[in-house]
Amino acid sequence: MTTAIHDIGYRHYDGPRHGRAFIVRSLYLYNLRAVFGLGRGAKAKIIPVFLFVCLLLPAAVDVAILAFIKEPKLLMNYSMYPLWVQPLIAIFLATQAPVIASREIRFKTVPLYFSRPVRTLDFVLAKFLAFVTALFALIAIPLTLLHLGFLLTRSGMVKNVREAGPLAELGKVPSVVHQSGLYLAALAGCLLFALVLASFALVIAAYTPRRGFGVAAVIAVYLISNVVVAIIQGVAISSGNWDLAKWMNLFTPFPLVDGVQTGLLHADVGSRGETVGPRTAGGGLLFLAANVAVVAGSLSVLLARFRKAGQ
């Protein structure tokens, strides 16, 4: 019987069949590639690559200026980098979250996964982690460039300060250890940004299967939450209610994460202004709890959403 089949051309597969770990890893890489449009047409690559370059640009320019002017005060506040570039990150969230969260719901591809040995939880986690990885890379790579720039130009800054003024001024050039500590804290902040922003964007995108609506919905939630929070904070501050202004940061994505940076990660307040979030460990922990709740809640919503889409 088997010889007959071979004669005709169909070959049975009797090689290895990998298990859960392999499938999850493949799914993770497939989604990670999809975020950046790899394996798709050129059109799918334009937006993510353009945004990545845009995010890298301020850091690259800062390093270049630092190399010329050698002034320590030109060093960027690492923990604020995600806040400065947040409109760009928001656009990335809006355009790329639908690629991960709604594409396969819209084209009804999900049942093809669940009719295979793919578990719902694995499917959702692989998607989530792929998007978190993409976001983390998007924010952390420019930050790393900034820090590398500091390490390379530090000796120049020291020389510059020594030539220009009294030795006491040398204290203005941060030590490698100090600045590296800030860098690591900012990286932890990046990871939290990636986790929370991915949760927020993926849930919205998963419920707006039409891609255009998905993009609009993510941007709308981002903008509206910012505007509403800013208005309430403005009113609160003008009436002297500083506490309310601080706690309002819980209700919009970027300040929600930033509260952990200022409260727990000892981020330099810098130019954050009067609406800065908590400055104490207690407040920071509360913000961290809110972050964890957002991530956990989003994951369970995504799980339910994809389970339904897979039937």
């Binding site: 070959r11 090689g15 290895p16 493949s26 047409g41 799918a44 084209f107 591809t109 093809l112 009719s115």
Partner: protein
């Protein structure tokens, strides 16, 4: 060993009963699952894949229990849904390779199997183009390819001929026959068109309103009816009258004559009649029943 066995399988949704104590077995080979739209065919497939827990009853697929061993079942079966299920922005190759990996095939094997199976379903150069530009027939082939790429022991094909033109339909039915006969993969194929399944299936399960109407071999449906179908080039009326006058039970049916076979002599009488009238005999064959008649009864 039966590849599918159900016992008292029921599925009740809040407002409809999709399946009602369905019990049947399916042996290896090509089996048709027939029923009108909404008869519960797709629901049954979802239950057999272990994706939807039934409200009651039990079922085994490839000897594995749907409730306890769903994951093992899904490693061994393929599924082609009836609806459009393909992302338009990737090529057929890229998509089928990805689906092979989702069944646990290593990268190289996934690529080889995808190339093989796309060739078997009849997709060649176009497999490198994005699926969005494909015709319905080509999309159906990609859906079939992804169901076969991991070399399953059994495939569930849900309405594979839906939306196809007559040529595409013939090609798809030919493929289904080959999957069962040449590839050695058992097939459970659904359709609301009985005539189609009669051509490719060994066995047919008919459900109506979620209940089992019939489960039997196609041969049993289409066994000889004890009648002869006779076609002559012209003047079949004259032949009919002549035979009737000689005591043969005959009735016209369109261009044909249906003649009850009384005994061996009937054949001779027909032959003699044709010769006497100088007619051209085109065919004389055993008339067979059609599955459709089950519904007409």
């Amino acid at each position: 060993m039966p590849i599918i066995a159900t016992r008292d399988l029921s599925m009740r949704f809040p407002r409809v009963t999709a399946l009602e104590s369905l019990s049947f077995t399916v042996e290896p080979g090509v089996t048709g699952l027939v029923g009108a739209n909404g008869a519960g065919k797709s629901t049954l497939i979802k239950i057999l894949l272990g994706l939807l827990p039934p409200s009651g009853g039990q079922a085994q697929v490839l000897g594995l229990d749907i409730a306890a061993q769903g994951s093992q079942i899904r490693e061994r079966v393929g599924f082609m849904p009836e609806y459009d299920t393909l992302p338009p922005d990737v090529s057929a190759t890229e998509f089928v390779v990805h689906m092979a990996r989702m069944s646990g095939l290593p990268a190289t094997a996934a690529r080889e199997r995808a190339a093989d199976v796309l060739r078997h379903v009849g997709l060649y150069e176009e497999r490198y183009r994005p699926i969005g530009g494909y015709s319905t027939g080509m999309k159906q082939k990609v859906k079939l390819a992804q169901a076969l790429v991991h070399d399953p022991q059994l495939v569930f094909l849900d309405e594979p001929t839906n939306g196809l033109d007559p040529n595409g339909r013939d090609e798809m039915l030919g493929l289904i026959r080959r999957i069962g006969a040449e590839f050695g993969i058992s097939v459970l194929v659904t359709s609301h068109l009985l005539g189609e399944l009669e051509r490719v299936c060994d066995h047919v399960v008919i459900i109506d309103g979620g209940k089992l109407l019939r489960s039997q071999a196609v041969e049993a449906f289409t066994q000889t009816s004890g009648q002869l179908l006779v076609e002559v080039e012209d003047r079949s009326d004259d032949l009919g009258r002549l035979l009737f006058d000689r005591g043969v039970a005959v009735r016209p049916e369109g261009r044909f004559l249906m003649i009850d076979i009384a005994d061996e002599k009937t054949y001779d009488q027909i032959r003699d009649g044709v010769v006497e009238l100088g007619l051209a005999l085109i065919r004389m064959e055993q008339a067979r029943h059609h599955i459709e008649e089950v519904f007409q009864q």
